[in-house]
Symmetry: C2
Amino acid sequence: MPGIKDVAERAGLSIATVSRALSGKGNVSARSRERARNAAAELGFVLSYHASSLASGRNHNVGVVVPSVHRWFFSSVVEGVSATLLDAGYDLTLYNVSGGQERRHSVLNDFLLRKRVDAVIAVSLELSEAEIQQLLAIHRPIVGIGGPLPGASTIRIDDSGIAQAAARHLIQLGHSKIAHMTGDAAYEQDFRLPGTRQAGFKKAMNDAGLAVRPEWQISADFTIQGAYASARCLLGSSVERPTAVFAASDEMAIGTILAARDFGLRVPYDLSVIGIDGHELGEVFGLTTIDQDARGQGALAVRRLLDGLDGGTDTEAADTEFPTHFVIRSSTAVPPADPAPAR
Amino acid sequence: MPGIKDVAERAGLSIATVSRALSGKGNVSARSRERARNAAAELGFVLSYHASSLASGRNHNVGVVVPSVHRWFFSSVVEGVSATLLDAGYDLTLYNVSGGQERRHSVLNDFLLRKRVDAVIAVSLELSEAEIQQLLAIHRPIVGIGGPLPGASTIRIDDSGIAQAAARHLIQLGHSKIAHMTGDAAYEQDFRLPGTRQAGFKKAMNDAGLAVRPEWQISADFTIQGAYASARCLLGSSVERPTAVFAASDEMAIGTILAARDFGLRVPYDLSVIGIDGHELGEVFGLTTIDQDARGQGALAVRRLLDGLDGGTDTEAADTEFPTHFVIRSSTAVPPADPAPAR
DNA sequence: CTCACAGCTGCAAGCGCTTCCAAGGTACAT
DNA sequence: ATGTACCTTGGAAGCGCTTGCAGCTGTGAG
């Protein structure tokens, strides 16, 4: 394998000049630059990243920590991150910590800290105070997506606001019997997001003077199948049925729709359903939702990071609210005419 | 940040001895080893991977090339790979090449070849002869999952066999009007898998003396939404309706089920549907399928790789057929009684 | 008692780059 | 003509490890 030395020889230049020519840093005459480039191309030379990193202290590698690439939101974000990173010539080291506390711990300790990444993107990771300190201590830019990350920059959507908007949409259609499917305990612990959306929901309900009935507050694990099971319980039970369900994610909304169909309920005539996400499947189900462009969030995170990395200036922590947009499809409509309006 | 030098000083040993003690290679007295370990622990020392890799030529990093982490199969495999790799102390560099030819090209050239990975796992990537040569040329172990990779080890399921099994299942139930939903052209180009499954289907049909009707051969892009659209065309058209559909993936099977429901068809009474994959959603739809444990395939690939890496022996290319198992649920049943048996 | 050998250890030479520094060249102002 | 400033270039010192080699010690055999 050719090294920079070979390139230098072939180009009739010194190693130093070749290095400068290829990296684009430092002043090199156009002639030298071209010579170096040609020689490199002819030899099929590629920099050794290890050597380069060791010498320069930079890695061209960012670590991405996600709870599970298997989930819609996370894999969407990773795609956005990956594409942007690749284009910028960076590597992406993936830390999929679905294994639980233990693995996650070892990731933070053994991997991230080993000076191998220039920056880290933490997706929806609820880190402990100590973990955050650890991360900040290695003095690398960090950006968090979809979760709070005190001390680091974050990109997030207005969870509370969009939850309110979703609920209001239902309310404005005339619904008053609105159920909310939120994330369950396991999720809450890690992501906190369910709570925020729930709060938004409650606020909208309160603002409208509507009661939040506890039996209509159900939860699931953010998957279609989990929501399906939960929704079946709700819809199949003897308690009064809501006329609308606001699910904290599209997958849960879809699970709800599937459950509704099982009971012969027509969406939206018998039951309106709204979600949050902008999941690809939304179209199949005519799901009204709030699109959060997860890919875009990933891309933005990278740009933030790269700006900081190149600029060199220690950009202080900034919170960016990522825009979302309402997508109205056919899963929401006016509530069914109440046979006996309780008034 | 403490370096190995600091550890050496603190332990009262030479750098060389500390290096040997910590890496476990070479002969070191128990006493020295312990001292080195303690000193390292006290200082919170972690090896610099770049320096270590540069000096040793090993990276402790494997590259994983996938078409898109956003898809069920790929993200499942990545999860399996990630978990196994992390446990072994390896990093995983993700190359998500969903951007198309161009990005994929740059990945192969600029990234993989930069000596940064010890090995590569290529998931369902149909590489050109030249690309394969490139990969093999860098002399790193490669294992392919779910796609042919001439010259490299591969892990794959018996696509043709399970397709036959799926079709036979339908045939044995009494179906003769069987449609097949395969992957569409875009996929075929990259993965070849659709063709293999299709061949299996045809073989089973031929063996049973059944006709493969072209109008019942439809295709989609392996997604629920794509299959949904395709299935709607099939089921909504004026051509005679099949009594069963064999979809080349669970997601496509689910899309088919959703389409069937739209037309008021009951699965399995009016239409049987079978898929392949073992998708989590299968349960919600009562989908009969053939489980291929994608995660397990990922884990196995890593073990293969690591064996080769540690053993050092150039293990020659081996094809491993990964076991699958039939999961019978409620989406398949005997065909509806034919009002006018055409005989 | 001597010798061969094996187990430990430290020295030092890199791994393949980046970058500081100083030297040489050129252009322009004095 | 001389000085100054700037651009360009090469030499060489590392970046933080790994590892070949040689020296040193202690052991058991001869």
